[in-house]
Assembly symmetry: C2
DNA sequence: CTGTTAGCGCCTTCAG
DNA sequence: CTGAAGGCGCTAACAG
């Protein structure tokens, strides 16, 4: 019964301490925290003061055990190599933690165990151990196995990237096509007539959408589109009298490749050749000339994801399922701000 | 036994379920998990099978409430802008989650609330709510306020970056000086005689150590050191017959600046001018020519940090306080692999 | 080696 | 509006 207290278990303040200090019952302290409107103002003030003075915060484990709420969201990205991380991850995570924090939630970082290629085990583990109220999934594909498994085991989730028809439609995504369409308009407005889109030939839906959005808008504007190049032979693309005068890349690193190729061909980026990127990484500001790029609204994305996730948890009943598309912001810099070179 | 289970009130398996299924008491299940050696092998097998079959995992909140162990580490980086994140953060975090996971721990992401410049409140909150067993602090300075506050409130921590004399010495750091000294030797071995170090004039100890390590080793090797340039006027540095033939940068983005300046001066990076970076970001591989850089042992750093942190928690008593320095790995690429140009 | 008992800290009944 | 029980799921003590 009397525990010897072998460990240096720091004595930590509890409801009882606060109740004693404020001269009320433990119950009143709980009410003051969770249902302040049911406590008489002067009592409330006394309790609040005691809480403040003692630095009291409810033990989250005890609270969770009682209420079932963990106040924690799990974040699960696709498996990647620490040495080649998703360029967005760091910035997006910061925004996600801020957004979750604004709603009183924390973010728990999840990754499949080393060697595991599938995320099922992590999801099962965290669900069975009841460590999170829901999941935020990054870089979600239409038939994403993480989303499928989350839906199967019944843990609420919100996806960055749109889910396919068979899955819950709680997703947020950039309007990639609209973003690159804006790039096409921007280039046309600077007088460019021959343009091309440079990006990996991939089935990744967000990259495909960027290409499509650019191509469609360029066609609508009557621009001449250089054919997509196999093998990414940029230097060949930049040769000849009919070379494009503007190149839009599907990410900033690809834009760097364009810079290199342009120089190798003796073209001045910005003057002889306009270039744009995607993501607006710090690289964009470091290049010479600085790179026009598309900035993702990380804060809005994070806030929206958290909102759609927590909305599913509210007792009022789950939100209607609905995807949300958000616009990217075109940041024009010197790499594409000059008039197109003469024909 | 297929239950529809449509409601979010998912019935979740508990010790009692496992005990029933295995025909033992709840306690035996607990023993099977936490002290298997005290359970008869055949009983253990039966219990284990039941656990497996039912997909049982102890509720972490209940377990934490009982034992005091959260099995969660908090990660706290310096406040930064989501649009200009620490280039290491994403990769290091991935390694940290892996390392913690290998020890049965999760990682909770911590950030000061928006607008807050100090981390005290986050630390106090997470300690008072008992959500983590310890903290991993990134980019720690000798007199870091996060470390100071963690020490003050008595929450164990491990620091990436060395702490000052007044603070607990549970830190892990790169041996920055040794890393850049190796760069100096590498350049000398390629025949370079006039070199320079390019980096921000800052008091950040890790950047200062990189500069010092390079300068000291270059002097020891009898290399001629171009003076540190105010305002980072790289182009001026690269002019004249006595220009350096090799430049070492304190990070990869600074190396990019050097590439730009070299081209502006008509120098070919790799042939006329050797360049090296630091961090080995994906940028290094994308540059033309690919950039020699220093790769941080992210996995070892993470493992060591987790080890030093968990070591403080073990009942055996805290570890002796001791900092750990780890070597970076020089990855030689084409930007510095050619013989120095003739004088 | 197994089962019984008790309580971690909190919040939700139910009385007063 | 406040006080008195009870139990969330688990595990550390003891009893059998």
């Amino acid at each position: 019964m009397t525990t010897p207290e072998a460990r240096p278990a720091r004595r930590v303040t509890t409801v009882a301490d606060v109740a004693d200090a404020a001269g009320v019952s433990r119950q009143t302290v709980s009410n003051a925290i969770n249902a302040p409107h049911r406590v008489r103002p002067d009592t409330l003030a006394r309790v609040t003061a005691a809480i403040e003075r003692l630095g009291y915060r409810p033990d989250q484990s005890a609270r969770s055990l009682r209420t079932g709420e963990r106040r924690t969201l799990g974040y699960l990205a696709p498996v990647d190599d620490p040495f080649d991380p998703n360029p967005l991850m760091a910035g997006f995570l910061a925004a996600l933690v801020d957004a979750a924090g604004a709603e009183g939630h924390h973010v728990l970082l999840l990754r499949p165990a080393a060697g595991e290629r599938h995320a099922r085990a992590v999801i099962d583990g965290v669900v069975a151990a009841r460590q999170v109220d829901g999941l935020v999934l990054a870089d979600v594909l239409p038939d994403d196995p993480r989303a499928a498994h989350a839906a199967r085991v019944g843990i609420p989730f919100a996806a960055f990237g749109r889910t396919g028809p068979g899955l819950p439609q709680h997703w947020v995504d950039i309007d990639n096509a609209a973003a690159t369409a804006e790039v096409a308009r921007h280039l046309a407005a600077r007088g460019h007539r021959r343009v091309a889109f440079v990006g990996a030939a991939t089935a990744l839906p967000w990259l495909a959408a960027r290409r499509e959005g650019f191509h469609r808008e360029a066609a609508r504007l009557g621009l001449s589109l250089a054919p997509a190049l196999p093998g990414g032979d940029l230097r060949a693309l930049l040769r000849g009298p009919d070379r494009p005068t503007a190149l839009a890349a599907d990410n900033d690193l690809a834009a760097l490749d364009i810079y290199e190729a342009a120089r190798a061909e003796g073209l001045r980026v910005g003057l002889d050749l306009a270039v744009t990127g995607f993501h607006d990484t710090p690289l964009a500001r470091h290049l010479h000339p600085p790179l026009t790029s598309l900035r993702l609204p990380l804060r809005t994305i994070a806030t929206t994801l958290v909102g759609r996730l927590l909305g599913q948890l509210r007792p009022a009943g789950p939100l209607p399922e609905r995807g949300v598309e958000l616009p990217a912001e075109l940041v024009v810099r010197d790499s594409s701000d000059h008039p197109a070179p003469g024909p």
